[in-house]
Symmetry: D2
Subunit: 345 residues, 4 copies
């Protein structure tokens, strides 16, 4: 294997494709299908997704997480609305302003300790309803898993969705790592989305072993009328969609989604435990899924990155992020911790 291709802890999207998924893509590579989703693979995948999320949903495949987030937000807003989110939210800091550009809305962020919104934090932005000079709050957007590796409990989600609905607002969930959250909570996917009142989900499976499998799920079909035009206008409609569809099919069959996420979470736990024993390192967030945030002596970071690439999270406090993946192996962790210890001696 080329050196560049060594498994590291940079991100779960640095991994490749799970073999079962690639196999499904190969098997779908026969004959002709109508493009743009009007094919049997897409239909079948949607049936499968409904088994996990409920019958009365609307499902649309998209190209990537940003597209999925932005179009979900667009569908449920007018341009004079605002969207409340954590300061660390992907939609706020990692999408180069795509939400603002495409929806015209204002994003209202609040600092959090752990990436999680609370009613109290949300309330900071809940004012000036009916006042035409002020963007009108319409969506609360939460990430599950959060960008800080933490996981909302079903009750925490329920509290937010109840609050939102009481205020005639919607809740969007950025589920780029939803499977990792479900596994962490030992819940079905539906129990942490539809069942606790989420209105729209950006479901991401790319980080869980797919090549590119992203979808928007509307839990109330009344809210998604004419969405298909937004997907096309939003440049998110794939022509050879069958090759996306079969990735969903593969992941949602035989519990592959769960196995992959369980593995990644377990690897994170093992890595976190190993690291916790090293006195010079301080883990800064609860390790609830497949991400670890830690303060590491700054002088060793470049040397460590040279062997196992990963990202700085907060340069000022020498905080780094380590992500595990469906394909992380025990020996990767062992080597990594060994090197860590060596560098810290």
């Amino acid at each position: 294997m080329k050196d560049e291709l060594k498994r590291g802890f940079a991100s779960d999207n640095n991994s490749g494709i799970h073999p079962d998924i690639l196999k499904a893509m190969q098997e779908a590579n026969v004959g002709h299908c109508i493009a743009y989703g009007d094919d049997i693979y897409t239909q079948s995948a949607i049936v499968k997704i409904k088994e996990h999320f409920g019958e009365d949903i609307d499902v649309y495949f998209t190209f990537n997480g940003t597209g999925s987030n932005v179009l979900a937000l667009k569908m449920l807003t007018e341009s004079y609305n605002s969207i409340i989110c954590a300061e660390t939210a992907h939609i706020n800091v990692d999408e180069c302003g795509a939400p603002e550009k495409f929806t015209g809305c204002k994003l209202l962020s609040v600092p959090t300790e752990n990436g999680k919104l609370t009613i109290e934090k949300i309330e900071y932005h809940m004012h000036d309803f009916g006042f035409e000079h002020h963007s009108q709050p319409k969506i609360i957007s939460i990430a599950q898993v959060t960008e800080m590796g933490t996981v909302y409990t079903p009750n925490e989600i329920k509290e937010i969705t109840s609050y939102a609905h009481k205020n005639a607002m919607f809740v969007h969930m950025d589920g780029a790592r939803l499977c990792n959250a479900a596994v962490s909570l030992d819940r079905d996917l539906r129990e942490i989305t539809a069942d606790v009142g989420v209105d729209v989900l950006s479901l991401g499976l790319t980080k869980n072993g797919a090549m590119n499998a992203e979808a928007i799920i509307f839990f109330n079909q009344e809210t998604s009328e004419n969405f298909k035009y937004y997907r096309k206008q939003g440049m998110q409609l794939a022509s050879k969609m069958r090759f996306m569809a079969v990735q969903f099919e593969a992941l949602f069959s035989n519990d592959l989604w769960k196995k992959n996420a369980e593995h990644a979470n377990k690897m994170a736990k093992i890595l976190a435990e190993a690291v916790a024993e090293i006195s010079q390192i301080q883990i800064t967030q609860k390790v609830e899924a497949n991400g670890i945030f830690a303060i590491v002596p700054s002088e060793i970071i470049p040397k460590l990155q040279k062997e196992f690439f990963f990202y700085m999270w907060d340069e000022n406090r020498s905080e780094v992020r380590w992500m595990t993946s469906f394909d992380t192996q025990i020996k990767d962790i062992e080597e990594f911790v060994l090197l860590l210890r060596k560098l810290l001696k």
Copy 2:
């Protein structure tokens, strides 16, 4: 093979993936790569693309043709500009207003007989420069192959680009079927793009055997400064980009791009010749690439579509479109023509 998966003549994007390309994707499925294009596969693919299009270009992969077209137009315009195109242009009729939404520009279309712009047609919209009430023309957008299956000669392109540059405008080429055009003209890819003055190309290989391989190529790097932000904000930045990159690599190695396009074009020629012998059918456009437009007695169309799916082009005059593909087989054509003759008896 399932009945739904029978090869038809609906579109070249109804086909699957060429085996060599899928194989390349499999081979790239090892280890970890930095996401979003900062990987050795992407670097290598860009080197390969430069062999075909020239060294001094800027290449960006995107998800689909619409994304590629829209972002290319965005880069070279301000929102107060206008874009001149054929009335049948994909950007004008098949992208659900994505160009207007993302660029803010006005599209100015002109009717054509064969999908091709001429200076005379373009001039219809060349007025009111400097007048602040009027959108200022900035881009002439042409499709190669056109949406009517016709092909611009290098001289025709050169004439348009010279005219554009003389007027301080740019030329965008929608190359969703560029390979078919190159083969049709017996030219290299560069000879019908960079060498004849095209400023920006939307290069599409999805219709030529890839799963999803689309790129924007800027032939003058000065025009593409900071483009990467538009790609991200335009929701067109793939995370596991290596799997796109290797599709380009595969197509641009061993002349696969050419073989696929040659085959598709040849199949179209064969089909056209067979059909030309049928007196009740009238071919309406020159068959210069892999598309055939024909007026067919309306009563047989549904029966024909039942066996071999294809699209109506113009209901009013009973005109249909038949597309061949890299995987079209002689026997598909034979069966199709046989059925056609049978239905017309």
Copy 3:
């Protein structure tokens, strides 16, 4: 009077303010009013407007005609919609792409002989409903008076609105010269708008003697919910709105709107009759309001413009436009025709 301030025939917006209107502005210049329209002057003006257009309407003042057109279109569309209009429509050629920029919609224009749409012309663009690749037609926009100086009859409007509503579409009327049309048809304002099915009107009085009095009128209040936010976000909410409001009040009291428009139309008629007698000049459109289009020998145009400024309409065929105004005087016309005759000798 300074030379530059000589009355000409360039446009009805080159004129100043009718004295009664300026007087109303002076009289409103007392004490403090709540800004942004929550004042007694605005309330009173809206009551007055309702006397002319009906009780069940929603009225919003804006800054200019472009703002009024664009926001009306925004309210009744989603970004994936398209708007059908005449090729000469102000929204199509004179607003620098503001409709596309703010609504995201595509404008679909059709050539006309006289600025007027017909069902037949509209039908050219009525296709691909339900097809996600295609912008979905939602609004038919007509101008009354048209940009070519012609006037739709109530029946012609009714035909278009019926057709629109049958197709689940709306009709927008650009009423920048609505008063001139009403006077031309000898109808009330309501009879050529609400009563014939218009959904939303951009009412312009600036060209009829106001300084800046533009409004959007929604004839069905259900369609204008939350419009106030679009007005603010669209940068069209005035702070000292009372000074706009009293302009409406003045114009809609004592039939000032009608007197001004009658005068302008009458002046156009007189000018047209005088010009019709000159053999070298050919009037090209029916003179139904206050605009005259004429083909004039090109060699005299610059000399004529030097004394009485006006605009070329179509350079290629030496066609000019002459507009009369509420303040045009008989002697302006006499002098103009005298000069015309002199130059043509």
Copy 4:
């Protein structure tokens, strides 16, 4: 005078028009002028403005402060940029998301104690330059006077502009109350804008006695190329512009701008001094221009508002805002303070 028209302390835009300005509008009401700014009044006003702000500037009139702010920001950004401002900034909380909608940019706000940005506060958002996932900071926007009634010193501005330019960024100044700041600092208008490095100014005179006189001033003409198209597309181009122009002319002649602002500031000072003597009231911000922020016993607020309308600023802490204006009279203050004392007894 009608009761509703009593002078209060709600806002300086609740006042009317200064008599000299209205007189100038009347005097300009003669003959015809070319519309859209190509007239002698507009030319003359721009000459006058250049006397105050420097020769090498570009001046564009707009309709209102929001339009002026938004278009200034649009001119100096690409949609992938971000704009740093105080959390209380008008562009952030009082424009219903117009900046996001029209520019596509992200607004990055920071809490402040007094409405003023500092380098330290700005630095919070200065990261991830060159990282395509992150909106790229391009503008620092400050308000002079701030929304909290405070005034930046020339040195404070210089510090911010130097910092911005060092980082290849621009500084936008929202000068809705610039005259009040200049008077407060005893400086010329140029000394607190061009001379301290401001790149673009939204100059508002509506709050200083005009009916509607707002302008964008670019201090470096190289940055404003083709701006006129954005103004038109941004729906901010007035037809009868002469009536705006003469308002500028009147205010910038005979030091009327200064007299009006001096008066308003002086009235605020007097009111603040009178209120400072009342023990139950706590002034919360320095009174540096014409605004006073104060915590007032909540039970008296409704009664006070009934006689002299004004706005709550922060309901939670019973903080109100009182604004004085060019037309505030000593007796207004006396009556107001008398009532205040009476209610607090």
